[in-house]
C-alpha cells in the first residue's frame, strides 16, 4: 500500500483510491484538498516515456545519504571518473557527460528558491528531455534527505532494471542516524541498495610521522584524538592517523551488519580531494597513487 503516507491519519484510504480525500478519516488531514481533487488517481503520461528512455542506459547508480556534506557529490565525481576510465581502459574526457541545474543559472549567486512541485518538474525534465543517449552508467547525485527530489527520482527509476543506490556516510553516529533513515527510505520504495561507503574515516597528518615510542607517550599524557592502534611495526613507519569524526557506534561497518547490506569500503580524508573538487580537476587520473583514489578504484572494480 505505497500510496498511504506513512504518517497518514488512521484508516487513510490511500492517495490513489477513489475514496481519497472523501473518507471520514480524511477530515483534518492537511492533504485532504489535494487528495479529493483526484490528482493522485491520474496516471502521468510521461512516466512510460521516461522509463523507455532510461532503459537504454545500462546501469543507473543513485548516490544518496540522509546527511549533508558527507561527500555525495565528491564521491559521485570520483566514481564517474573511475567508471569512465574503466569502460575505455584509457580515459578520455569524452566518456563523461554531466547535467546539472548549475548550468541553467545565470550567475553563481542565483538561488533556486523553489518548493517541491517545481523541483519535481525539473527532475522530470532532466530525465525526460536530456539526450542521454546510450550510456553505460548514469550516476545520479542527490541532495540530503528523504523528500521531494528522492521520491520523484524513485518514481521514475525504481521499476527500471539495473538501478541501485550507493549510500555515503561519515563514521560518527550523528551522520549514521540520518543514514539509517535513508536505508529505511530505500527499503520502503523498493530501491535496491548496492552498498554503503564510509567517507572521511581517517585523516593522516601530512606533516608528521612518529615513532611508536612517541606514540605511547602521547597516549599516556592523554591526547584527545583517538589514534588507531595498528600493528606496531606498521606504526613505526606510518604517519599518525586521526579519527576526526569518531565512530562511537562502530561506524558504517556495524551499521551495514545491522541492516544486512554490503559495506563497500572506506575512504580517507584527503585535502587533495577537496582541492581537486574546488578546481574541477580529475584526481583519479592525475594522482591514482593516492590512497583515496585507490580506494575509489577498488570500489569501482567491485561493482
Amino acid at each position: 500500500m505505497e500510496d498511504i503516507p506513512d504518517n497518514a491519519p488512521n484508516h487513510c484510504p490511500g492517495t490513489k483510491s477513489e475514496e481519497a480525500g472523501k473518507a471520514d478519516a480524511c477530515a483534518g488531514c492537511p492533504n485532504q484538498k489535494l487528495c479529493s481533487s483526484g490528482i493522485g488517481q491520474k496516471v502521468d503520461p510521461d512516466e512510460a516515456l521516461i522509463k523507455e528512455k532510461l532503459s537504454e542506459i545500462k546501469h543507473k547508480i543513485i548516490v544518496m545519504s540522509g546527511k549533508g556534506g558527507v561527500g555525495k557529490s565528491t564521491f559521485t565525481a570520483m566514481l564517474s571518473h573511475a567508471l569512465a576510465l574503466k569502460e575505455e581502459q584509457e580515459y578520455t574526457s569524452d566518456n563523461l557527460c554531466v547535467m546539472s541545474i548549475g548550468f541553467l543559472l545565470n550567475s553563481p549567486e542565483d538561488a533556486v528558491i523553489w518548493r517541491g512541485p517545481k523541483k519535481n518538474g525539473m527532475i522530470k525534465q532532466f530525465l525526460k528531455d536530456v539526450d542521454w543517449g546510450n550510456l553505460d552508467f548514469l550516476v545520479i547525485d542527490t541532495p540530503p534527505g528523504t523528500s521531494d527530489e528522492h521520491l520523484s527520482l524513485v518514481k521514475y527509476l525504481s521499476s527500471s532494471p539495473n538501478t541501485g543506490a550507493v549510500i555515503v556516510t561519515t563514521p560518527q553516529e550523528v551522520a549514521l542516524l540520518d543514514v539509517r533513515k535513508e536505508i529505511t527510505f530505500c527499503r520502503k520504495v523498493n530501491l535496491p541498495i548496492i552498498g554503503v561507503i564510509e567517507n572521511m574515516t581517517t585523516f593522516k597528518c601530512p606533516k608528521c610521522s612518529v615513532s611508536l615510542a612517541y606514540f605511547i607517550i602521547n597516549v599516556n599524557i592523554g591526547f584527545k584524538s583517538q589514534c588507531i592502534l595498528m600493528d606496531s611495526t606498521v606504526l613505526l613507519l606510518a604517519q599518525v592517523e586521526t579519527r576526526i569524526f569518531p565512530p562511537t557506534t562502530g561506524g558504517a561497518q556495524s551499521l551495514t551488519e545491522e541492516f544486512g547490506i554490503p559495506f563497500l569500503g572506506s575512504l580517507p580524508l584527503d585535502p587533495n580531494v577537496a582541492k581537486a573538487c574546488d578546481e574541477g580537476h580529475n584526481i583519479i587520473v592525475e594522482s591514482p597513487e593516492l590512497p583515496v583514489c585507490k580506494a575509489v578504484l577498488n570500489i569501482t572494480e567491485g561493482k
Partner: protein, 281 residues
C-alpha cells in the same frame, strides 16, 4: 510516526496559535550546504547563550535528518502536552533554561524515515512554529540545507515575529562557499538580516605535531563575508573533541572551555546579546 501522534496531528490542526509565542527573539542558523555544521553551531550558540544566563530553546526543523536531540543528549525522550494542547519542549539535563524540540522525538525508532513531500513538511513546520509552549529569551532555529520548502515556510510564518536574524555557516572550500552565496541571496530576497558568517572546519591541528592542515582549504567564509559586506564571526577549527562531545551529548563549551572553538562561540553569543549590534555595515 505512531498512531498516537497521527491522531494528535489532526487534533493540533484545530489549535493553531500565534507563531513563536513565548519567544524573546529568534535566531536562524542557515547554510546552503549540508554537513557544514549547522546543528553543531546551533548547539554551541545555544549553550553559550545559556551560559550567559539566558533562557534558550532550540527548534530543529530539519525534518528528514534531525540531529539536535543526539547532540544535546536527549535522544529518545518523549514530548509532553500542556492542558491546552501545546507541546512542551524537552529540557536538556533537567535544566529549565535549555530546552529543545525536534521531529526526532515523535518518531518511533531512530531508523524511521520521514518520507514527505513539500506540503506535508510545510504543515509540520507550521505546527512546530505555532504549537510549542516556549518560555525562552532566545530560540535558535536549526534548518536543513538548501533554500526550499522548509525555509520558505519558516520565513512565511515568522514574518511578524521578533527575529534577530540569521547566522550562515560554511566550510572554507569553494564548493561550500558557492552554496552559501545562494543562501545569502535567499536571505536578501526574503528580507532576513544576516547576523554574520561562521567558517567552520577551518584547519585541523594535528594532535601529534601541532601543525595545522587546511583539510577543506581556508579563508573561503571570510572572503565571502568581505565580498558581501556581512560580519565575519570567526573561523572554527576542526576539533575531534568537539565531534566526540556531540556524539555523546556532552557540553563542549563546559568541558573544553579554553579551546579555540569555545572562545569563538562565546564571543558570538556575547555579540548577539549586545543591545546595539554592529550589523549591516
Amino acid at each position: 510516526m505512531g498512531k498516537e501522534t497521527a491522531s494528535n496531528w489532526q487534533f493540533f490542526l484545530l489549535l493553531s496559535g500565534k507563531p513563536l509565542e513565548g519567544v524573546g527573539e529568534a535566531i536562524l542558523v542557515l547554510s546552503g550546504k549540508g554537513g557544514v555544521g549547522k546543528s553543531t553551531v546551533t548547539v554551541q550558540i545555544a549553550s553559550s547563550l545559556k551560559m550567559l544566563g539566558h533562557k534558550v530553546g532550540i527548534l530543529d526543523i530539519d525534518l528528514c535528518g534531525p540531529s539536535i536531540p543526539r547532540m544535546v543528549g536527549v535522544e529518545g525522550c518523549d514530548v509532553l502536552t500542556t492542558p491546552d494542547g501545546k507541546w512542551i519542549p524537552v529540557s536538556v539535563n533537567n535544566d529549565k533554561n535549555f530546552s529543545v524540540i525536534s521531529l526526532a522525538f515523535f518518531l518511533d525508532s531512530k531508523n524511521d524515515a520521514v518520507i514527505w513531500r513539500g506540503p506535508k513538511k510545510n504543515a509540520m513546520i507550521k505546527q512546530l512554529l505555532t504549537n510549542i509552549a516556549w518560555d525562552v529569551d532566545y530560540l535558535i532555529i536549526d534548518t536543513p540545507p538548501g533554500t526550499s520548502d522548509e525555509h520558505i515556510s519558516v520565513m512565511e510564518n515568522i514574518r511578524d515575529c521578533p527575529v534577530k536574524g540569521a547566522v550562515l555557516v560554511t566550510t572554507p572550500q569553494m564548493v561550500a562557499v558557492d552554496d552559501v552565496t545562494r543562501e545569502l541571496t535567499f536571505c536578501r530576497r526574503t528580507g532576513i538580516k544576516v547576523l554574520g558568517i561562521i567558517e567552520n572546519m577551518s584547519g585541523f591541528v594535528c594532535p601529534n605535531c601541532s601543525e595545522c592542515s587546511n583539510i577543506f582549504a581556508t579563508g573561503g567564509g571570510q572572503k565571502l563575508a568581505e565580498k558581501y559586506s556581512v560580519p565575519f564571526l570567526g573561523k572554527v577549527p576542526i576539533d575531534p573533541s568537539l565531534t566526540k562531545c556531540l556524539e555523546t551529548g556532552e557540553s563542549y563549551l563546559e568541558r573544553f572551555s579554553q579551546s579555540e572553538g569555545s572562545k569563538i562561540m562565546k564571543n558570538v553569543a556575547e555579540c548577539f546579546t549586545k543591545k546595539e549590534m554592529e550589523v549591516d555595515a
